[in-house]
C-alpha cells in the first residue's frame, strides 16, 4: 500500500514510498474507504470539485456519490449530520474547508460531539473525524488563515491532532477513525505540497516526536511550524547551538512527558506556535514546563507566535505576522545567553 496508486491523482510521479502530504492524506482516506464500508467522506466540494485543497480528488469517481458526499454550505448542518451518523454506527470523515469556517459548527463540535460520551455516562460514542485546513502563508487573508487549533485543544472530550510530516499525514487517519472519541485533524495549508517518505505504520495519536536531537535548547512546535523550527535548528547548528526539535503531533492530549524530558536535558525552552500568543497552546506548554521543570530551567521560556493581528492579506505583511526562522533563532539564542 505504500506505492502511489492513483489513476486520478494529479501531479508529478514520485518514487514508491515517497509522496506529497496531500497524496498521503488521500491515500489514508482511500485506505479507510476501501477497508471499512462504514466510512464515508462528507463536506463542501469534496466530491465533484475534489476538495478545496484537492485532497479528495478522484475519490468520488472511485467510491461513488454515496460515500463521497458534497454538502450544502452549512458547517453546522453537515458536522451535525456527521455526529448523527457516528452515533448511528457510521465512521464519517467530515471535511471543513478552513478552521475559520469551523466556528459555524462550533456548537455541534463542543456541545454535542465533545459532550455526548460524558453526558450519556459512556453509553454513546461519537467516532467522528473532522479534517480541516489551518494556518496562514497562502495569502488567503484573515477569514481563511487563522490557527485556532489551540481553542479546540482546550475542549475535553475531543482529540486534536496536527500531522506535520507526510508520514503522519498518511498514518493518523486510521487511529483517528478507530478512536471512540471525536478527533479533529488539522492540516496546515502550507504543508500540502511537501514531500516525504511514508510507510504503512499507523501513528499513535497521543505521542510527541523528537524530530531532531540536540542538547542545548528544546524547540517545541507542531503542524505548519515544524519546517520553520527545523530550519531554525539548522541555522543554530551553524552557530554551534544544538537545538532539539519536538513535534507535539497531538495537541490534546499533550504528551508533556516528551517535552519535559527534553527540557530536563537542554534546560531551555522555545515554543514555536503559529497561533496568537495570548492564551495559546504555546502558553500551555510554557506553563506546564514552568510548573513541572522549573528547577531545570536555565533561562526563561520563550514563545515565538504570530503577531496579534488578524492575518493580513498583503504577502509581506503576512510574512511579517507569522513566526519566521530568524525569530526562532533569535529566541533560541536568547535562551542560551
Amino acid at each position: 500500500m505504500s506505492a502511489v496508486t492513483s489513476a486520478a491523482a494529479p501531479g508529478t510521479e514520485l518514487p514508491p514510498g515517497r509522496m506529497t502530504y496531500r497524496e498521503a492524506l488521500r491515500e489514508s482516506l482511500r485506505e479507510a474507504l476501501r477497508g471499512d464500508e462504514r466510512v464515508f467522506v462528507m463536506g463542501e466540494d469534496v466530491g465533484r470539485y475534489g476538495g478545496c485543497f484537492a485532497v479528495t480528488l478522484g475519490l468520488l469517481e472511485e467510491f461513488g456519490p454515496e460515500r463521497v458526499r458534497d454538502t450544502p454550505l452549512s458547517e453546522s448542518a453537515f458536522v451535525g449530520a456527521g455526529i448523527g451518523a457516528a452515533l448511528g454506527g457510521m465512521r464519517p470523515v467530515v471535511e471543513i474547508m478552513t478552521v475559520n469556517f469551523s466556528l459555524l459548527a462550533l456548537d455541534q463540535i463542543l456541545n454535542n460531539a465533545a459532550t455526548l460520551a460524558h453526558m450519556s455516562g459512556g453509553q454513546l460514542a461519537v467516532p467522528l473525524v473532522v479534517r480541516m485546513t489551518t494556518g496562514a502563508g497562502r495569502q488567503l487573508a484573515a477569514q481563511h488563515s487563522h490557527s485556532l487549533e489551540g481553542w479546540y485543544a482546550h475542549i475535553p472530550g475531543l482529540r486534536i491532532v496536527a500531522p506535520a510530516t507526510v508520514a503522519d499525514a498518511r498514518g493518523m487517519l486510521a487511529p483517528a477513525l478507530a478512536s471512540p472519541d471525536p478527533v479533529l485533524l488539522f492540516e496546515h495549508a502550507g504543508l500540502y505540497a511537501s514531500e516525504g517518505e511514508v510507510d504503512d505504520t499507523p501513528v499513535a495519536l497521543d505521542g510527541a516526536a523528537v524530530r531532531r536531537p540536540g542538547e542545548d535548547v528544546t524547540l517545541v512546535t507542531y503542524g505548519g511550524m515544524l519546517p520553520t523550527a527545523l530550519a531554525a535548528a539548522e541555522a543554530l547548528e551553524a552557530g554551534g547551538i544544538a537545538a532539539e526539535v519536538v513535534d507535539l503531533r497531538s495537541l490534546r492530549p499533550l504528551d508533556e512527558a516528551t517535552v519535559l524530558a527534553s527540557v530536563r536535558r537542554t534546560h531551555r525552552l522555545v515554543v514555536v506556535d503559529e497561533g496568537w500568543r495570548s492564551g495559546s497552546l504555546a502558553a500551555e506548554v510554557a506553563a506546564r514546563v514552568a510548573e513541572q521543570a522549573f528547577y531545570d530551567l536555565d533561562a526563561p521560556p520563550e514563545r515565538v507566535c504570530s503577531a496579534e493581528v488578524p492575518v493580513p492579506y498583503a504577502a509581506h505583511l503576512e510574512r511579517a505576522a507569522r513566526p519566521a526562522v530568524d525569530d526562532v533563532v533569535a529566541a533560541a539564542r536568547r535562551t542560551v545567553g
Binding site: 534546560h267 513541572q292 521543570a293 522549573f294 528547577y295 531545570d296 530551567l297 536555565d298 533561562a299 545567553g337
Partner: protein, 465 residues
C-alpha cells in the same frame, strides 16, 4: 442597613462619614459598610440633619436595622448628645484638610486604604489622590510609602494611638528598594545548591544573569562511590546543605581511604608495551566518526574488564573474613572532577561490552559524573576499580583499595620508552600498570597473573569485539 446584594444578610459599619448635626442630602455618602464581599459606600436616602448614629463603627447588624436617625431639615434636633463611640475615626478636620464644601462628606479614602496608610504611618489627608474625585487609592499610598516620609503623620498624633494599636509594619509592601535580588536561573540555583556553592558566591555572565555555566563545576556532588541515587533529579527536596559539598566529598574520601589503611595491601606493577594495540586503535578510529572515536583509556579499561574474567580472584568483596567473588564484572572507574575531588561510578557488566560499547559507556558515565547527574545504575556495587591518571598524569599510580573490594588496578600515562624486542632495542609507547591487592584475599602471584592477563588481552585482537 441596606441590602447591598441578594445574598446579603448582614453588614458591618466600618466608617461613618457624617456626624450628628451634619446636613445631608439624598445621594450623599454617609457610611461605609463591609459585606462578605467588599466594602460598599452607603448613600443617604433623605435630605435632613443627622440626629443620631445608632450603630457604632465595627458593629455588625442585620439587613433592615436602622443605622442613624435623620431629622427633617428645620426640625429642632434633639439636644441629646450623640453616643458617638470613641472609636469613630473623625474625618480629621485639621488645618491642612480639603475644604468641606460640595463634596464635603466624601471620604478621602476607602477604609481599607485608610487602614493600609495607617499601618505605614501615613495620613491619607496629606497624600495626593489620583482616584475618582481625588480620592487616595491603594497605589497612592504605596507610592508615598516608597518615595519617603513626606506624608508621615505627625508623631504627636500617632504615637499614643495608632502606633500602639497597629501590630507591626506591614510585611506585604516592600518599603524602599531593597538590595537587588541576584538573577539566577532556577537550574543554576539548583546546581549551586547541589554543588554546595552559596548563591551569593555566584558571579553572573555578561548579561547579568547567573546560568548553569556560571556555577563552578565539580566542587563535588556526592561522596566517593556512592553517587547520588536520584531517579527524579528535578526536585531539590532539601535546601542547600549548609556544609559545602566539596568538604563532604573530601570527608568521604578521607573516611574511605582511612578504612582502606586497615587492609594489608600488596603492590605489583608491570610495564605494558602498547605499540601494536595503539596502531590498531588508530586504524579503527580512522574509520569512525569523531564522536565514536575510542581513547586509549577505554582500551585499558576494556582489557582490565576482560582480564577480570580470566582471573576472577580479584573481582569481588571481602566480607566477614572471606572473599565473596562477584558474579559479574562491574568495574568502578575513578573520575576526577574539575576543581578537585573524585567520583567512582560503576560500569556494570563491563566485560560483556565490545570496545566501542565500553567507550560509549565510559563517555556517558564520565559526563554524568562531571555534571553531577549520576544515576542509580551508575552507583551499582563495583567488584574491582580502575584508576587511570591519563595522558598528562604521572608514570605510575599505586592506589589504595576501595573496601570492601579486594583489588585496584592503576594505569599511568602512556609514554614512549626504549623497549627490548629480541636482541634489538626500539622505542615504543608503553604504560605502567599497577595492581594493589588485598593480601587477605590473594597473594602477589595472582596480582602478577592479572597484569599479565591485561597484557594478553591488549594484544589479542579477537578480544576487541
Amino acid at each position: 442597613m441596606p441590602s447591598l446584594g441578594a445574598d446579603m444578610d448582614a453588614g458591618t459599619v466600618v466608617e461613618w462619614a457624617v456626624a450628628p448635626g451634619d446636613h445631608v442630602h439624598r445621594g450623599d455618602l454617609v457610611a461605609a459598610v463591609e459585606t462578605e464581599k467588599s466594602v460598599i459606600d452607603v448613600e443617604c436616602f433623605e435630605d435632613g440633619v443627622v440626629e443620631r448614629l445608632l450603630v457604632p463603627v465595627g458593629t455588625k447588624v442585620a439587613v433592615g436595622t436602622p443605622l442613624a436617625v435623620i431629622a427633617p431639615e428645620g426640625a429642632t434636633p434633639a439636644p441629646t448628645p450623640a453616643p458617638t463611640p470613641a472609636l469613630t475615626p473623625a474625618p480629621a478636620p485639621a488645618a491642612g484638610t480639603p475644604e468641606r464644601d460640595g463634596a464635603a462628606s466624601l471620604p478621602r479614602a476607602t477604609p481599607p486604604v485608610r487602614r493600609f496608610a495607617e499601618r505605614l504611618g501615613l495620613d491619607v489627608a496629606r497624600l495626593p489622590g489620583t482616584g475618582p474625585h481625588g480620592t487616595v487609592t491603594h497605589a497612592d499610598v504605596r507610592a508615598a510609602a516608597s518615595t519617603g516620609t513626606t506624608a508621615r503623620t505627625d508623631t504627636t498624633d500617632t504615637t499614643d494611638t495608632t502606633d500602639t494599636t497597629v501590630p507591626s509594619p506591614t510585611p506585604t509592601v516592600p518599603p524602599a528598594a531593597p538590595a537587588e535580588r541576584p538573577r539566577i536561573t532556577p537550574y543554576a540555583r539548583r546546581l549551586a545548591a547541589e554543588r554546595g556553592t552559596p548563591p551569593e558566591a555566584l558571579r553572573p555572565g555578561a548579561d547579568g544573569v547567573v546560568r548553569a555555566r556560571d556555577v563552578p563545576a565539580g566542587t563535588g556532588a556526592t561522596p566517593t562511590r556512592t553517587p547520588r541515587p536520584t531517579p527524579q533529579p528535578t526536585r531539590p527536596t532539601t535546601p542547600p546543605s549548609p556544609r559545602p559539598a566539596a568538604q563532604g566529598m573530601r570527608a568521604a574520601i578521607a573516611a574511605r581511604m582511612t578504612r582502606s589503611l586497615a587492609i594489608p595491601q600488596y603492590h605489583v606493577d608491570s610495564v605494558l608495551e602498547l605499540g601494536a594495540p595503539l596502531d590498531r586503535l588508530r586504524e579503527v578510529n580512522r574509520r569512525l566518526p569523531v564522536s565514536e572515536r575510542i581513547v586509549p583509556a577505554a582500551l585499558l579499561l576494556h582489557a582490565t574488564a576482560r582480564a577480570a574474567r580470566r582471573v576472577p580472584e580479584l573481582n569481588g568483596h571481602w566480607v566477614d573474613d572471606t572473599l565473596v567473588p562477584a558474579t559479574t564484572v562491574a568495574l568502578g572507574v575513578v573520575v576526577s572532577l574539575r576543581g578537585g575531588g573524585l567520583l567512582v561510578p560503576t560500569i556494570p557488566a563491563a566485560d560483556e561490552l565490545t570496545l566501542s560499547e565500553l567507550m560509549a559507556a565510559l563517555r556517558d558515565v564520565v559526563a554524568r559524573a562531571r555534571t553531577g547527574r549520576l544515576r542509580t545504575s551508575d552507583a551499582a556495587d563495583a567488584g574491582l576499580t580502575v584508576t587511570d591518571l591519563g595522558e598528562t598524569g604521572g608514570h605510575s599510580v599505586h592506589g589504595r583499595i576501595f573496601p570492601p573490594q579486594v583489588a585496584l588496578v592503576g594505569f599511568g600515562a602512556v609514554v614512549r620508552r626504549p623497549w627490548a624486542e629480541g636482541d634489538l632495542l626500539g622505542v615504543r609507547p608503553t604504560v605502567t600498570a599497577t595492581l594493589t591487592g588485598d593480601h587477605r584475599a590473594t597473594d602477589g602471584v595472582v596480582g602478577g597473573r592479572f597484569l599479565h592477563a591485561i597484557d594478553d588481552v591488549l594484544h589479542d585482537t579477537e578480544e576487541w569485539s
